[in-house]
């Protein structure tokens, strides 16, 4: 327990969203969103793996999604920390190729390469990091990153790994609705109970918080990791596809229809009807939809969110009447039906005082400031969203840490052996609310090894499960009879193994080099192309002696040939050819200039002005 002297350092808050990401910082009292050079706060969570080798992130990637639909990755947050059937479900609705890799983990296939969701998230985080650095004019190495409250251990661990790959120390992961409640001017001076309704691009969360003199305590959180604005877009997109009879298998068509649906949805938030003209591979079609029709499509999804609200109230042992404030977060809460239904369900007009797109990042920035040691008045007490447990006989789930337990939290269990002389015990760890482990998510398996060989039932192995303030599980085990620490080996079923993270960190450094090379090659090609064009023009104007003209022409031809080559050209060769031409053209430049000067002089003389 130390109050060591803190280096004054800037810690940013990052909202790593399904559709958009952004960052914010708090200096002094107010938090502000950090913007890029064009003063845009939102960075689309998209990565385009350009065929020329570049990895383009953010708005430029979004602009390229129709050009390279099978190389532009979006909504990767839906894949992070996921495996098996969950991956298959996503594959059907995403226009870029996703498949199950090793251990059934989600992998995105670009050309011949497989990318993990962690690596793709890291590219997005890198972009966020550089945006912050450019806005603040200093290096950023630490951040508070938000995750949906409903994220399980695997998804949280994977997000942490992505941060490490991006060169960011993740000081804390906080739940998105909790972060939003901090941003909502609820500065801790006002006590009360708040319901935070967070409908983002891909996830839905509802949290109920109690605020007492600066302590923000989450009482309950409930959510759905597969419900969001993306689903609204998809329903509308399916309707468009059916109406215009387009090929739903074609990735170009899918991306175009998805983009069209998104803009229609936004239009319908302010207008009773909307229509669009679509130009799909030369085929013109038009489509129109009314708000009433759209609302009928999404009503079942909105209903699902309200059921989550009811469950959250029940978990918090509260009634709707005991809620003092309803707060909206996430772009999808702009949909009028959402606001209307929520008002009906809670009897409170939702508070919309903070831009729902920015609230989460602003809240994360406030928590970042607290963790940097600059604010001692606020404290967040968050909960674990899903119960943690162990597999017992017959595949039953024995819950050890119950959901909605305030974190950090711990639980201790004692285990023994079943066979004489047994020196290891295996435990399978699960997360979920169902009674049978096959209906829960397996987080990993744990082997307690190196036990003293004793008769069955004699060893007493105390296992402590500790859930830290990030909601991530840590395990400790000890054999009590001998006091021997049992060695633990956890093999995660989801996300990356520690070795994989290490390898990827190494690779990302290597890739950074490759990225620079790719960038250099593009710059050089551009330079060479303009040089070829310029030299040709200069040759027409200048009066060089024939031998010099021939030398320059020869050099231009060589460079043109390199540029036109279909196979990738060695960067060094291209560089050499460009330098060669550059040397030769110095003389033409002189000649052109001097001849231009002479020409001008001659003309002036002719006019008799001198």
């Amino acid at each position: 327990m130390t109050d060591a002297v803190q280096q004054p350092r800037l810690v940013i808050g990052i909202d790593l969203g399904t559709t958009n990401s952004l960052c914010a910082i708090r200096t002094g009292k107010g938090a502000r969103v950090l913007r890029d050079r064009d003063s845009e706060p939102l960075i689309p969570s998209m990565v385009c793996f350009h065929p020329d080798g570049r990895k383009i992130v953010g708005r430029e990637a979004k602009a390229l999604r129709l050009t390279f639909p099978d190389r532009t990755v979006f909504s990767v947050k839906r894949l992070i920390g996921r495996a098996g059937e969950e991956v298959d479900a996503e594959t059907k609705i995403l226009p870029y190729p996703v498949h199950q890799g090793e251990r059934g983990l989600a992998r995105v296939r670009i050309g011949n390469d497989d990318w993990s969701p962690e690596q793709i998230s890291a590219l997005i985080l890198r972009k966020v990091k550089s945006t912050a650095e450019q806005a603040l004019g200093q290096e950023i190495t630490a951040a508070v990153i938000t995750v949906p409250a409903w994220f399980d251990d695997g998804q949280r661990q994977a997000t942490k790994d992505a941060a490490a790959l991006a060169g960011l120390e993740c000081l804390r992961m906080i739940n998105e609705p909790t972060a939003a409640s901090l941003a909502y001017g609820i500065d801790g001076s006002k006590n009360g109970t708040v319901l935070v309704y967070d409908l983002g691009g891909g996830t839905f969360d509802v949290s109920i918080l109690r605020i007492d003199d600066g302590v923000f305590r989450v009482l309950a959180t409930v959510g759905d990791t597969h419900l969001g604005g993306d689903d609204f877009d998809r329903l509308l997109g399916d309707r468009i596809l059916a109406a215009i009879g387009a090929d739903a298998r074609n990735p170009y068509v899918l991306q175009a229809v998805r983009a069209a649906a998104e803009s229609l949805k936004c239009e319908l938030s302010t207008k009773p009807n909307a229509n669009l003209q679509l130009d799909l591979q030369g085929k013109q079609s038009s489509f129109s939809v009314t708000r009433v029709e759209f609302e009928a499509m999404i009503a079942p999804l909105v209903q699902r969110t309200l059921e989550c609200c009811r469950r959250a109230l029940k978990d918090a042992k509260l009634t709707a009447a005991q809620i003092d404030e309803v707060v909206l977060v996430g772009g999808s809460t702009r949909v009028p039906l959402v606001r209307q239904r929520l008002y009906q369900a809670t009897g409170r007009q939702p508070n919309t005082g903070v831009d729902p797109d920015l609230a989460v990042a602003l809240g994360a920035a406030i928590q970042a400031d607290v963790l940097a040691g600059n604010d001692k008045s606020l404290l967040l007490l968050d909960v674990i969203p899903l119960s943690l447990g162990l597999e017992t006989l017959g595949g039953a789930m024995q819950k050890i840490v119950l959901r909605n337990s305030t974190i950090p939290t711990s639980a201790a269990e004692e285990f023994s052996t079943a066979v004489d002389g047994q020196t290891s015990v295996a435990l399978n760890i699960y997360q979920g609310e169902r009674e049978l482990v096959r209906d829960c998510r397996m987080l990993g398996s744990l082997t307690l090894a190196g036990l003293p060989p004793l008769p069955a039932g004699l060893p007493r192995i105390a296992v402590t499960f500790l859930v830290d303030a990030d909601g991530v599980l840590r395990i400790n085990a000890q054999e009590k009879r001998t006091g021997q620490e049992a060695s633990i080996l956890v093999v995660p079923s989801f996300g990356l193994t520690r070795d994989e993270v290490r390898r990827m960190m190494f690779e990302s450094i290597e890739h950074a080099h490759a990225d620079i090379l790719a960038r250099e090659s593009i710059d050089l090609r551009n330079k060479a192309q303009s040089m070829v064009k310029g030299t040709k023009k200069a040759l027409e104007q200048s009066d060089l002696p024939p031998d010099q003209t021939f030398a320059v022409q020869k050099s231009v031809k060589a460079l043109e040939k390199l540029l036109a080559a279909l196979t990738p050209v060695d960067l060094a060769v291209l560089k050499l050819a460009t330098e060669e031409l550059s040397k030769l053209t110095v003389t033409i430049a002189d000649d052109v200039i001097s001849s231009a000067v002479q020409k001008a002089l001659a003309e002036e003389q002719r006019e008799g002005k001198v």
Partner: protein, 166 residues
């Protein structure tokens, strides 16, 4: 697999070993302890220190979870004041057992519009048991207290089942 011995939640909060504790005062104590001991307020330096800070904060949260629920508080108190007595008094009064079976049946067959009524009746019974429990602890009759704790489980289970159906 057995539950490892509990920590003493009363000691963590620095309050007396007794059942009747004022809930508002407990809550204030919880918030105060959280402010002092939460890892956010105690940025640990080394890994060992970090684990210690985490464990201490976890203790506060875990103690609060026990103390805030009067029944859990009673169970912990019994465990501390008379270790082993809960295990000794596991066998229930046959009459009570018959009533409990009857109650479970009522819960299963309860029509949706009768849920509130049944809930009210069970809550009354639970209150009566709790009153006996308070008297038992006050008189130092830990065997009686243990019996009440065991009996309350059936009522609380019935209430929880009704809750999921409403």
């Amino acid at each position: 697999m057995t539950k490892a011995p509990l920590l003493d939640p009363f000691a963590v909060f620095g309050v007396e070993h007794r059942l009747d504790l004022e809930e508002h005062a407990l809550e204030r104590r919880y918030l105060q302890l959280s402010r002092e001991l939460h890892p956010d307020r105690n940025r640990a330096i080394g890994a060992a220190d970090c684990a210690a800070v985490l464990l201490r904060a976890a203790e506060v949260n875990d103690a609060w979870r026990v103390l805030r629920d009067p029944w859990e508080r009673a169970r912990a108190l019994s465990h501390i004041l008379a270790p082993g007595i809960l295990e000794q008094h596991k066998s229930l009064d046959p009459d009570f057992l018959l009533d409990a079976i009857d109650l479970a049946e009522q819960v299963t067959l309860c029509e949706p519009n009768a849920v509130a009524n049944l809930q009210g009746r069970i809550k009354q019974q639970a209150d009566a048991i709790f009153a006996t429990l308070q008297k038992a602890f006050a008189a130092g009759d830990h065997a009686l207290a243990a019996q009440q704790i065991h009996q309350s489980k059936y009522l609380r289970k019935a209430l929880a089942d009704l809750e999921t159906r409403s």
